[in-house]
C-alpha cells in the first residue's frame, strides 16, 4: 500500500471513530438517563422518587401511555415536562440525545407499554 492511501485510510478511520461515539441504542439511553426516575423496570419506581411532588410516569401502564401520541412523547423527552404542560421534574434532553435517539426512545417506550398511538 502506498503512503498516500495509508494516510487517507488512517484519517477516515479516526473520523469514523469520532462520529460513531455519539450513536447509542435506546435501551442503553433508557438505562442511563430514564431509569434514575422511571425505575429499573420502567414502572415509575426510580431511585429518585421519594421526595418528588409528582411521581414519574409508569411506562408499562398501557392505558395511560396510550393517551400520549408519539409526537407528544418525542416532545416531552426533547423539551421536558413543561412543554406538554406536565411537571418540570421531567427535564429536557435535547442537549443529551439526538433526534434519532429520541425517536428510538419513543419506539422503546411503545415496547414497554405494549401500546400504540400514532396520532400526530
Amino acid at each position: 500500500m502506498n503512503n498516500c492511501c495509508f494516510i487517507i485510510i488512517l484519517i477516515m478511520t479516526s473520523l469514523l471513530q469520532i462520529s460513531s461515539a455519539s450513536a447509542e441504542s435506546a435501551k442503553d439511553n433508557y438505562r442511563t438517563y430514564c431509569m434514575q426516575c422511571h425505575g429499573m423496570a420502567g414502572q415509575g419506581m426510580g431511585l429518585n422518587i421519594q421526595d418528588m411532588s409528582v411521581q414519574p410516569r409508569d411506562h408499562t401502564d398501557t392505558k395511560a401511555m396510550s393517551t400520549r401520541t408519539d409526537s407528544e412523547l418525542f416532545k416531552v423527552i426533547k423539551e421536558g415536562g413543561l412543554a406538554i404542560s406536565k411537571s418540570s421534574l421531567m427535564p429536557p434532553w435535547a442537549d443529551t440525545l439526538t433526534d434519532n435517539e429520541i425517536d428510538d426512545l419513543v419506539k422503546h417506550l411503545r415496547k414497554l407499554c405494549q401500546c400504540d398511538n400514532q396520532t400526530k
Binding site: N2, N3, C4, C5, I7, L10, I11, S14, I18, A21, S22, E24, D28, N29, R31, T32, Y33, M35, Q36, C37, G39, M40, A41, M45, G46, L47, N48, I49, Q50, D51, M52, S53, G80, G81, S87, S88, L89, M90, P91, P92, W93, A94, D95, T96
Partner: protein
C-alpha cells in the same frame, strides 16, 4: 496513484497534518507532579487525563469523578480536608445504575456495592490537593464565567431548585431530602469553585459529554441565583 514521497514538500505537509490531527484527537497531556497520585493508585478510579467518556459503555465503567480538570472544579482547601476525612458525595456512587436494586416502593441504593474512598494523612492530602489544583483542562469553559454573589435568590432559591427547574429530582438539598442519582448539593458551595458551578449548570455536556444531568438552558441570572442558593446551603450545619 503514484506512491507519495514523504521527503517532498507535499509529503511533509501531509505528515505534519496527520501529526497535528493525532494530537487533537488523542488525550491531552497535563502538567503537574503526579508521583503521589500514582503512589495512591488514584488513576484506578479517576481519569487524570481527558477527555471525558464519549460512549455510554465508558461512562458506566467510571468509578470516580474525572480529575483532569480538578483544578478548575474543586476548591483546594476542601480537597485537602476531604481527602483526610472522605465522606460519600454521591449517594448512589459514580454511576447510579451500578449501585441500585429493586425495592418495595422504589429502587434503592445497594450500599453493599459501594466502597469507601481512601483516607490520606494530612501531608499526603495537602500534596495531592496541590497537585490536583494544577490539573486544569477545560480552562476555556470557565475563563469567561463571572460569579456575582449579589444575585441572591432570597427565599425563592429553594422554589427554583425544587419546583421551577426540578433539580432536586436528582440532588439532595439537605441530608435525606432530594434525589440520589446526582451528587449532594448542600456541600457544593464549599466543595466547588463558583465559576465551575456556573459553567457546569450552563452546559453539563460541555464538561461531561454523556452525563445524566440534562441542560435546562437556564438564563444567566437564574444560574447565578442557583449557585448562590447552593453556596448558602453550604453555610448551614447539618447533622449526618
Amino acid at each position: 496513484m503514484n506512491s507519495l514521497n514523504m521527503t517532498t514538500p507535499l509529503g511533509k505537509w501531509l505528515l505534519l497534518t496527520l501529526a497535528l490531527f493525532s494530537l487533537v484527537t488523542a488525550s491531552p497531556a497535563h502538567a503537574g507532579d503526579l508521583d503521589l497520585l500514582n503512589k495512591h493508585n488514584c488513576s484506578s478510579c479517576h481519569a487524570l487525563t481527558g477527555p471525558a467518556p464519549s460512549t455510554l459503555a465508558a461512562l458506566w465503567q467510571r468509578k470516580g469523578p474525572d480529575l483532569f480538570y480538578a483544578g478548575n472544579k474543586y476548591r483546594q482547601e476542601w480537597l485537602e480536608t476531604w481527602l483526610q476525612n472522605p465522606k460519600r458525595i454521591r449517594p448512589a456512587g459514580m454511576f447510579y445504575m451500578n449501585h441500585i436494586k429493586p425495592g418495595p416502593k422504589r429502587n434503592m441504593v445497594d450500599t453493599s456495592s459501594l466502597s469507601q474512598h481512601l483516607q490520606l494523612n494530612s501531608s499526603d492530602a495537602k500534596s495531592i490537593a496541590a497537585t490536583l489544583a494544577t490539573l486544569k483542562e477545560n480552562r476555556s469553559l470557565i475563563q469567561n464565567e463571572k460569579h456575582d454573589p449579589k444575585l441572591s435568590p432570597g427565599p425563592l432559591g429553594e422554589m427554583m431548585f425544587d419546583k421551577i427547574y426540578g433539580c432536586m429530582a436528582c440532588h439532595q438539598i439537605e441530608p435525606g431530602f432530594g434525589g440520589l442519582s446526582g451528587p449532594e448539593v448542600y456541600t457544593a458551595g464549599t466543595r466547588l469553585k463558583a465559576e465551575f458551578m456556573l459553567s457546569y449548570i450552563r452546559s453539563p455536556q460541555a464538561w461531561d459529554t454523556k452525563v445524566w444531568m440534562p441542560n435546562a438552558h437556564l438564563p444567566d441570572n437564574n444560574i447565578q441565583k442557583l449557585v448562590n442558593y447552593m453556596i448558602n446551603l453550604s453555610k448551614k450545619s447539618y447533622n449526618e
